[in-house]
């Protein structure tokens, strides 16, 4: 009779599973680590975390400090760090988004590297790309140093487009030509948002804040011109307002040119190997000021205040910043279909990469900027996004939209 044996089976299984898990829990306790051990969280892939743990073995041989690296996924990293700080179970080293270091640091969760390790730090940051260096410094504090970098770059089909556009004018005339045959360009990374707008703003000599970062400057004429040009790409030159699958449309030639992050190089060669040799990359078209400034981002790494091994953690950060180790990281990620570009200029001389790719990447990275280092910036970006979207989708006046955004930015500057 089923009625009887089901509850008994449930009870049995319950007792059994409770036993199992008690055994597991007991097995987990009672181990006290005697060696110095540092834990690193990597926002990224499991594979790269394993490679870093492997590098840790080498580091252990040199220093006697054990390292283990664990991956956490991008989507949840912010809440994972937050709870770990609340629960006082932070790792020693954390990698994170470019602006998070300042954010967490100002809440007291991270070590100010500029105060703890001033001498080493200036040496380490001396060869960082200038755009990144600007984004990690907050007043006189630096809470995290770059782990890798991603940059804006232009991709084009060299069998369709003979010469990549060098200026804004070149760009619009190329787009007119493409439009006549039903084709256009895609702005992929950060399109219809502040990341997409930033290069045009900078290329036109504008910026989000003034030099001392005390006042927002989106109401300037330069910002307005840049906004008008940027939004005209969508409104007059058929740049799609929604995300398009870049690789497919590039492959069939509907969008033979796009602006995106450097990682698309890897995905193009993986996904569209038959296009090899038919595409190239180039620096962004220069604006009226003659500058071709792009956007630069990347992960940063820092030390949590609760770490018991700050010195050792710092040693490992320095180890990871060594050019030979950075080359190793680059090669490892290529192997796992991911992307890692070294954030310091010195390493680039050693980088095993085809010159036709390396030159434009390096050239662009030297003239790139990251997000402004202002507390409250992360709260402000959506107002810039809204301004752009209102202009493109709802035909709002560009000047009025920027004025609104400027007010919101102004209100959110916290010093």
């Amino acid at each position: 009779m089923h009625g009887r044996d089901i509850p008994i089976a449930i009870a049995k299984a319950l007792v059994f599973s409770l036993m199992i898990f008690t055994v597991f829990c007991l097995a987990g306790c009672g181990k006290v680590p005697e060696e110095k051990k540092i834990l690193m969280w990597l926002v990224g892939s499991e594979k790269q975390a394993q490679k870093i743990t492997e590098l840790g073995l080498d580091f252990y041989k040199q220093t006697g400090v054990k390292v283990s690296c664990e991956a956490i996924s991008w989507g949840e990293a912010h809440s994972k760090y937050l709870t770990s700080v609340v629960g006082e179970v932070t790792p020693d080293i954390g990698t994170m988004g470019l602006t998070w270091g300042t954010e967490f640091g100002n809440l007291g969760a991270m070590v100010d590297l500029n105060r703890e390790f001033p001498d080493d730090l200036s040496e380490l940051t001396s060869s960082i790309f200038p755009g990144l260096a600007g984004s990690i410094r907050y007043n006189d504090s630096i809470f995290a140093v770059p782990f890798d970098m991603s940059e804006y770059i232009m991709f084009y089909r060299c069998d369709i487009i003979k010469e990549p556009p060098r200026t804004w004018k070149d760009l619009t005339s190329l787009l007119s030509e493409l439009n006549s045959s039903g084709r256009s360009m895609i702005i992929d990374w950060g399109g219809m948002g502040w990341i997409g707008y930033s290069p045009f703003l900078w290329q036109n000599g504008g910026d989000y804040y003034d030099k001392d970062m005390t006042s927002a400057t989106l109401d300037s004429d330069k910002a307005l011109e840049a906004m008008k040009f940027f939004t005209s790409l969508y409104k007059a030159y058929e740049v799609p307002v929604e995300n398009r699958p870049v690789e497919q449309s590039f492959k069939i030639g509907e969008y033979p040119i796009f602006i995106s992050g450097n990682w698309k190089m890897k995905s193009l060669s993986d996904i569209a190997p038959e296009l090899k040799g038919k595409w190239a990359i180039a620096t962004l078209p220069a604006g009226p000021t003659g500058k071709k400034t792009g956007f630069i981002g990347g992960r940063v790494m820092g030390i949590f205040s609760l770490s018991k091994h700050k010195k050792e953690a710092w040693e490992f950060i320095k180890y990871l910043s060594r050019p030979d180790i950075q080359i190793k990281l680059y090669e490892d990620t290529l192997e796992s279909h991911d992307t890692y570009l070294p954030p310091n200029i010195k390493t680039w001389n050693l980088l095993p990469m085809e010159d036709s790719f390396k030159r434009p990447l390096l050239d662009q990275a030297m003239d790139s900027k990251g997000p402004p280092s202002v507390l409250g910036w992360d709260d402000s970006t959506r107002f810039i996004d809204t301004a752009i979207q209102m202009v493109v989708l709802k035909n709002k006046d560009a000047g009025a939209a920027l004025k609104d955004a400027d007010n919101e930015l102004e209100r959110r500057i916290r010093r």
């Binding site: 089901i6 664990e70 996924s73 937050l82 629960g87 790792p91 497919q248 569209a272 991911d338």
Partner: protein
Amino acid sequence: MDIAEIKRLEAEGPGRPASKKRQQQVLKAFVYIFLMVGSFVMIVPFVWMIVTSFKPLEEINTYPPSFFIRKPTIAAYIELFSIIPMGRYFLNSLIVTCSITLANIFFCSLAGYAFAKHRFFGRDKLFLLLVGSMMIPWQVNLIPSFVIVKKFGWLNSFYGLIIPAMSGAFGIFLMRQFIMNIPDDLIDAAKIDGCSEFTIYRRVILPLIQPALASLAIFTFMGQWNNFVWPLVIVYSSKMRTIPIALSVLNGQFGTNFAMVMAGAVVATLPVLIVFIAFQKYFIKGIALTGLKA
């Protein structure tokens, strides 16, 4: 042939007017068409997941999209198992999920029985509190719960993963709704026979709510197997990870290796599918045990 079918055959009986039979045949044809079209719509994504997991990288983003694989490969699976200690994570997930499911079946049906068939002081208020608690989004309870588990020293342990989830408002509510349907006469009869309360629960209530227990088991297993946020927050060493946590970091920063993500999803989905198929039969058995046939 299952019991439901026998019953229906009996019910149809002989000597039924021909027009009614015809009407039923037409109805049945509609039922089949409805179910087949629906099934097709449901299954397409699953097939896509499996197909993608066997595709080489260069075939993943083709235009137009294709279900056909030119060069099938199991590279994604090999890579998956070489990155993740699948055995350990599988065991973790299994221990956590099974313990929670069994505990839920037991505790929720007990409490559901009390709420449905007992009169006690504060019953309705407690029940309202219970239902009300479901309305607070988990996002706001995450941090306080985390702090409590930390105070107990249960971070990064099976205790922390299992104990907070051993009973749930959803389960109790579900059980109460089903037990309310059981006629009081059955319980009263058992009482006259001198059964203790626990015996009534075991001998009368449990057999009668098997379809509901099976539903609860399926939902709990499924929910816990795929549970992501709680383990993510309280587990901070790789050996305590569960499968969803492991899967979430398969993707690189820019998520290009869809084949491996899909392979991971296939591997993660299979156990739930098996549990579902295994528990289905209890829905049907449930009818035979309704006890009201006579």
